[in-house]
């Protein structure tokens, strides 16, 4: 497999511009195309609006970038195809998703690459696990040979009530574990608690079964509005949303455990609802729509081993989002007129 990412001095990394790659995968492999700005897209992202078009900017991690599916099967491209209604202008959806990033890096992507891009709507898709990444200062990444390397990531911390950006530029070279002091070692995101146990369970292909039996709650960070990780996440999102000058749609994306109804979604739903009310943006929680799908069909929204969306998953998400975005774009047009 080819190298996918290049170093970026603010975000940490981005896709290598103009890359055209096929990635082997349990589903048989998928093609991705990267535009000249370094995002998965079949066209460059233009600053000025295309005359007669409306434009939506979407930010997120691998669930938005579309790990495991080609560009054209992502929910963003499906929305672009389906959104134009009779007598309404076509819609461009710019997907700024970048795999394995936290919401903090997605905010930096907006600042670095999208701040000046004319648009009608911004969608911030937060895979709820991102709360762990936001709290992390280092993350392991697998290279194209499957070798795990530990990299510094840009991160924010709250000092005197304001966000301070740290690790920018992040070190280019990977870290060895022994280079980290105790505080840094504690700030490595290993994907949650019980690392060895999780690896063993995953290797044995027993992840779903163990989750079903234990009803493990993987994200306690959402349990309290005062939890440090949520406070940081909330501060980042609030600052980002307030900096945006148009309508914003905040969309938390559930974990597989939430889709399987083996862990409780209420804590994160409560936190995002509080945030949306506080900053005055619209919230769309797709989980209720997804839970209306029969369990056997719902399981096919993600791959057998890979937790990312299958084409059916992207389709289901697009169906959930479509009326909300259509409504928001319609309202925007009404205001503009």
């Amino acid at each position: 497999m080819r190298q996918l990412y290049e170093y970026h001095p603010v975000v940490g990394y981005r896709y290598i511009p103009r890359l055209r790659v096929r990635i082997p995968h349990e589903g048989g492999g998928y093609l991705i195309q990267v535009n000249e700005q370094g995002f998965r897209a079949d066209r460059p992202f233009a600053r000025a609006r295309t005359p007669g078009h409306r434009r939506v900017l979407v930010f997120g991690d691998s669930f938005t970038a579309g790990d495991a599916v080609p560009n054209r099967q992502r929910y963003t491209e499906l929305l672009e195809t389906r959104l134009p209604g009779a007598g309404t202008p076509p819609v461009e959806v710019y997907n700024f998703g970048l795999s394995s990033t936290g919401t903090d890096q997605q905010y930096l992507i907006w600042r670095e690459f999208a701040r000046d891009i004319e648009h009608d709507l911004v969608v911030i898709a937060v895979f709820v696990e991102n709360i762990r990444r936001v709290a992390a200062q280092f993350r392991p990444h697998h290279d194209e040979h499957g070798v795990e390397r530990l990299y510094a990531k840009p991160y924010f911390r709250i000092e005197n009530g304001t966000l301070q950006l740290c690790h920018v530029p992040p070190r280019r070279e990977p870290y060895e574990e022994h280079e980290l002091d105790a505080a840094q070692a504690a700030a490595v995101d290993h994907g949650g608690r019980f690392l060895m146990l999780r690896r063993m369970v995953t290797k044995l292909g027993m992840r779903d079964m163990v989750q079903h039996l234990t009803q493990y709650q993987p994200l306690p960070h959402y349990d309290s509005p005062a939890s440090p990780a949520w406070c940081l996440m909330r501060a980042i999102l609030a600052q980002w949303i307030r900096a945006l000058d148009g309508p914003v749609l905040l969309m938390p994306l559930p974990l597989p455990q939430h889709l399987d109804e083996t862990c409780d979604a209420a804590p994160y739903q409560a936190r995002f609802a509080e945030l949306a009310a506080d900053v005055g943006c619209r919230l769309h929680d797709p989980l209720p729509d997804l839970l209306r799908i029969a369990p056997a069909t719902r399981r096919r929204l993600r791959w057998d081993k890979d937790i990312h969306f299958t084409p059916a998953g992207h389709d289901a998400l697009a169906r959930s989002l479509q009326p909300v975005i259509a409504d928001m774009l319609g309202a925007g047009l009404a205001r503009a007129s």
Binding site: Q3, I16, G28, E173
Partner: protein, 394 residues
Amino acid sequence: MGKTILGIAGYYHDAAAALVRDGEIVAAAQEERFTRRKHDPSFPVNAINYCLEEGFVDAADLDAIVFYDNPLLTFDRVVQNACAGARHGDAAGARDLFVQAAGAVLGDKIWVNEHVRQTLGTPGRAGRVLFAEHHMAHAASAFYPAPVDSAAVLTIDGVGEWATTTLGTGHGRKLELFAEIDYPHSLGLLYSAFTSFCGFKVNSGEYKLMGLAPYGRPRYTGRIREHLIDVRTDGSYRLDMNYFGWLDGMAMPGPRFADLFDGPARQPETPITRREMDLAASIQQVTEEIVLRTARHLRRLSGERNLVLAGGVALNCVANGKLAAAGIFDDIWIQPAAGDAGGALGAALLAHHMAFEAPRRRTDGAGDTQRGSYLGPRYSSEEILAFLDRNGYP
């Protein structure tokens, strides 16, 4: 709408993949280039991935996926081989041979459909993997890219299903093989037996033996002709199987080789002696003689002025040079990937022109449609910079 076809070769040696779109070669690569394992025989997942990447085509959109060999015919040879061994009274040896050879065939090749589904998640639009015959794939790899409308076709290799040498013609999009020499009589296997006897790896070191030939004198040529091979005037031949091991075991030269050629086989990595140089010169001379005689016969049979050539023996560039110099044909075109790797390309081209009945792309004197031999991966400046940067190169 043009057809997009993936050709696959694998499981024996030199696994490879090739992608053809509307008759044009888009990509081709050998698996060894990705795995760094020389002559890698495994199912070419990396080469396939590269070909689809270069063509930027989803596997589900492939009009056909074609394998370069017919596993059932190969299995038929394995069964008959074992039965022949049993008839000669060596039931235990025949059983071992069958188990070993059948395992190689049934263990992999027979499951090509399943491996394609596992690797690509789909058999493409055709709904199933198509199978070409081995020598038709070689012939197609030589004829379709050649800058001629019509040609005599000669394929010579170790063995593919049953055939070891085939003669045919190509006209327009049609390709026909009308004569063949069958296993166990094989010029390719004969050459490999000498490769092995001289201490080189079979299906790998043949080029070393060819390179060794000019250092020796062909003093064993008479013994080879007298004992090992009966070459007729038309280039056809029969081997004396008492000297070879591939019918009743997996060894290439049998024990009688040592009696015939002045001592035991050279052990790998030991000094090369005058004997190995002379053996190389001798088998090279016999090979050239067979190739020239076969070519003359094919010229007479076909009436064609052009010859196209493929199969592992067509990698013997010294014999090819003699053939060109002999002036038997006006022009000769040789598939650069004449060995099994080229079978992937041939299988794809064969499906395009024979199964889908698409006409050949005319070259109008502009040269062949092979697009050279640099058909593998390329990297953009951005990718190279990213690699250098990540790995700390200045």
